[in-house]
Symmetry: C2
Subunit: 387 residues, 2 copies
């Protein structure tokens, strides 16, 4: 048995995920139970990740969390729910095996770092809560499966449940009132369809009108179209998207991704008062993707755009079309930060599609940086601990 003054610790990296069938609207705000299912692509931790170390010792007076060296308030119900559930699971282990140290009785110190700028407007709470849950589960040596952990992470931040797995991840809506079946599962691993690439176009900072937590409940309460989306539109798309992923069918993947992004933003616009996340820069990104797709005689989908609760575009494409898709954007925003790495340098700027000049100009003035990334795996345990 460990001495009382031992420090126990464990660390993990957790990935960002970007939804291709969007989560928007809760049927239970306390448990973060969604009105509809969602599917996301887990992005590579080589490019974007949260690094979290969880430690506990008898010397700690309180639970604490720092993110990027700034102390965070952890008294909120969401963080507390995660800590409570993880401690309860640890307690079960301790009760079953008295030789285990009583970590569940010690205070927790959680230290987190994102490797991407907060200003990038990426949904950092998903990676953040996934890392927190995964790090504490590692610390507690819980045998809990990623799907079971996803039920816990969901209570911290809905979309966090999808960051506990790699590749292509679905979060099923679930039917139970207690949320026990509202969990994430892997639709397919990253290795099933490894050539999925993503280019994130980070729009110049603009103050966000509405937080996504507040926004989605305004939509639920006031949109005349929202319930139809949740009940009729999304369930069909969930099935079709899973099929597209299983079949590595980029054509269907792309169509479903763009349509669902637009459908989600349509319900935002239909909110009272209306919520606008897409701006003129976002619109230019949409048009540029359309120009790229239209510039091929066979009219195939070379790229698909999606927008979260902000103006940034995430453009998905296959590795084989990197020069065409990322190359076109390089010719438009090649002067921005983000092309410096080995991969970015290798991409050749491709001539603009015909007619795309206006969209190109708008994009160049509205985009501040790009992030080149790809589909990636789930949380990675690490021995690198944050102090």
């Amino acid at each position: 048995m460990a001495a009382n003054d031992d420090v126990h610790r464990a660390s993990t990296f957790a990935p960002v995920n970007i939804a291709i069938i969007k989560y928007w609207g809760k049927r239970d705000t306390k448990l973060n139970l969604p009105t509809n299912g969602s599917i996301s692509v887990t992005l590579s931790q080589d490019d974007l990740r949260t690094h979290t170390t969880a430690s506990c010792s008898a010397a700690l007076a309180d639970d604490s969390l720092t993110l990027n060296n700034a102390p965070q308030d952890i008294s909120g119900a969401r963080t507390q729910a995660c800590l409570r559930e993880l401690r309860a699971l640890r307690k079960e282990l301790e009760d079953a095996d008295s030789s285990l140290p009583k970590l569940s009785e010690l205070k927790l110190k959680i230290v987190s770092q994102n490797n991407f700028p907060t200003a990038a407007g990426l949904a950092s709470s998903a990676a953040g809560f996934a890392a927190l849950v995964r790090a504490i589960a590692n610390l507690y040596e819980l045998p809990t499966s990623p799907t079971d952990l996803s039920r816990i992470a969901r209570q911290g931040s809905g979309s966090a449940c999808r960051s506990l797995m790699g590749g292509y991840v679905a979060w099923q809506k679930g039917e139970q009132a207690d949320g026990s079946d509202s969990v994430a599962y892997e639709v397919a691993s990253a290795s099933h369809w490894p050539d999925m690439r993503a280019l994130i176009l980070v729009a110049s900072a603009e103050k966000k009108d509405v937080s996504s937590t507040a926004g989605m409940q305004q939509t639920v309460a006031s949109s005349a179209l929202f319930q139809h989306r949740a009940d009729e539109v999304v369930p069909k798309r969930m099935k079709a998207m899973e099929k597209a992923i299983h079949n590595r069918d980029f054509e269907s993947f792309a169509k479903l991704t763009t349509k669902d992004s637009n459908n989600f933003h349509a319900t935002c616009l239909d909110t009272d008062p209306p919520i606008f996340y897409m701006n003129d820069t976002s619109r230019a990104a949409v048009r540029m993707c359309e120009y790229i797709n239209a510039s091929h005689p066979e009219e195939k989908q070379y790229c698909a755009y999606t927008f979260d609760a902000g103006p940034n575009a995430v453009v998905y494409y296959l590795a084989e079309h990197e020069d065409t898709v990322a190359g076109t954007f390089k010719s438009v925003v090649g002067d921005k930060t983000g092309w410096e790495g080995a991969r970015g340098q290798k991409i050749k700027a491709t001539p603009l599609p015909e007619g795309a000049e206006v969209a190109a100009e708008k994009l160049n003035s509205g985009i501040s940086r790009v992030i080149l990334t790809s589909v990636g795996d789930g949380p990675r345990k690490t021995d690198k601990h944050l102090a």
Copy 2:
């Protein structure tokens, strides 16, 4: 009986109308039968109007139409349908009374002038077709009611049917396959609720992505939300809006107007490919209206915005709030064209609501002119003929 070389002529003014429950989507593209009903406010012809003279004589070799001195193609099925139906009605009169000159056998010369710049992006086809139909009906001395004429004008341009009446006008969807019951009727005259004012914020010219005729059928074909709007959302709003008009209930009028505008644009965004008519300037106009409404302790609706198939905002408000609503916009875009008239000069620039600075700056850079107008009456016969 008139001699063969007599020139017969008649002239009319016809108004612009701006929908408050939007027309978007046809169930029959040939007959211009809509998927849902709509309601509009007829705007004053003192400010915005089409002036049309219809004449016929044996000396004319062909039917012709000029608009703002430029010859127009009238061979299109829509114009031809209007001419054919009007001639048939005239023929019925001539058949019943042989003393009438056989005008139905003569070619028509139609001359039209708009008193507003085409660049203003106002739906000029509504006023144009209403004026064409009304002028020819005057020339032919048809006893046909405005509602019966609206059935004809609808075939020229859907929303034209609502410009044949003044005040508050509904276009009922109708059920018949031949469109016989898809007509306009007056919900209430301008004198029933005369203090309705409108401020049109004309956005700087930007090339229109998609024509509204093409756009609406793309929406019908591809939006997952559109049918729900047409079947469920609009019918309830039609009833509620008629009630609001009857009760002169601006609170309800404003809520329904803004919600329906946003709902319509939501289905545009949900179209594949997405249609964006609102831009960042439009969004700033929305926010400015919200600031104005929020700046009163009682949180009443002082103004309501609506957007047609373009970025221009039309802001409705009551005369008693002219200084608050138009005054706020004067403080924001007072340097633009359109405030020169007696009414515009009288309006005092009102201090900006708290927090509205960003929206104000965006509006000032994106708006090129304003038009101050109000609810008005239906087409006016005139003896001023265009040559």
